[in-house]
Symmetry: C2
Subunit: 217 residues, 2 copies
């Protein structure tokens, strides 16, 4: 990676402080990464609508520019903090630390970080998260996990999104599963559509279990 | 951008040498950039099939890993050189220089550079090209040009791809045109589907004219 060791060293120190903070508050932290337009925000809209009743939730949204995503995510009971990165193609632990300090309710069950849309840069930056999630929409092509191994090799789960249009775009599920078996062999795979709701229950159940696990310590 | 000035300065010197080389050979050079999965390779498959009969064509394909795209693009009469960037999220002028030296037929009418799938990193690196093209598929959302201004503000043309599924994904053409009017006000806009062929004629005609312009000097 074209990133200096000093930058990553500084990030790691800040990420370790965040991890310790999340451990003390027993907050589950998930870092969601994907290409631009894979459906991160659409998934979060539906996820917040379902988690909101049971869990104290906040979202940090990273983008190079605009607060479009924060506006889309508001109104579901979760506190939303938009971070604009000013040209950087990823969030770093320092940006997340500043954003957390803006969240009024600190006693959170879950903090969701929607990273900048990018299949490369975000993967190098630890944010102290418990879970890394990679999204892959059926429109992007089955081979993306092997073409972007730095991201997919480090995620705990892959969400295959937009499956309601899988047939329309000629998505080959076997080819995708084969690519994931190579690039992300240990990742749990969810196949869902935020629009139709197919597959959402399994995703919400998994997140809810992870929140409970974190609480139980 | 999180890129050192020294890196960009070295790139600029190499890009200037490339530009001079392309000027002497009267080769039109286009640099195609987009998110992963926007349809760069699908567009090039169809473009090569149509340009191949009239023009001496070569393609340099950049990816972090795999030679999938080079294999997809072979068999259309164009020479294809795959560059794997080993973790870098963009091509640079040095990589392109090395790749050009691998091309056997140097007397080219057009050199197409398919950059690494990324809406951020490639925009900072001049490759000595005549034209920068940004792809945006209808599946990605209408607001991507304003969310990724560093790329879209610097392109001569935007190709809106996959328009055969615009209705299925709920694409708002007016919203997209409004976003492009802000982010890329001077860019020519093509709307096409590589799969159905809709809109391909205007794209091919434009490229063919640009090749003729470069030849005429």
């Amino acid at each position: 990676m074209a990133i200096e060791k000093a930058v990553l060293g500084k990030n790691q120190a800040a990420a370790d402080r965040l991890r310790d903070r999340y451990l003390r508050s027993k907050t589950l932290v998930i870092n969601i990464m994907s290409s631009p337009g894979s459906g991160k925000t659409a998934l979060l809209e539906k996820t917040l609508a379902q988690l909101g009743a049971s869990f104290r939730t906040a979202v940090i949204v990273g983008d190079l520019a605009t607060d479009n995503d924060a506006r889309r995510l508001s109104g579901h009971g979760a506190e939303i903090v938009q971070v604009t990165t000013g040209g950087y193609c990823h969030l770093d632990a320092g940006m997340v630390t500043k954003a957390i300090d803006e969240i009024a309710g600190q006693d959170l069950d879950i903090l969701i970080i929607e990273n900048v849309g990018n299949l490369v840069c975000p993967s190098a930056f630890d944010l102290g998260e418990d879970l890394r999630i990679g999204l892959l929409s059926v429109t992007e092509g089955e081979d993306k996990p092997v073409k972007y191994p730095s991201l997919f090799s480090r995620v705990e789960a892959v969400v295959i999104s937009k499956i309601d249009i899988a047939d329309v775009v000629g998505w080959s599920r076997p080819d995708a599963i084969a690519a994931l078996a190579v690039a992300a062999p240990r990742a749990k795979v969810f196949e869902l559509s935020s629009r139709s709701g197919t597959g959402m229950d399994a995703w919400i159940a998994w997140i809810s279990e992870r929140i409970a696990d974190k609480k139980a310590g």
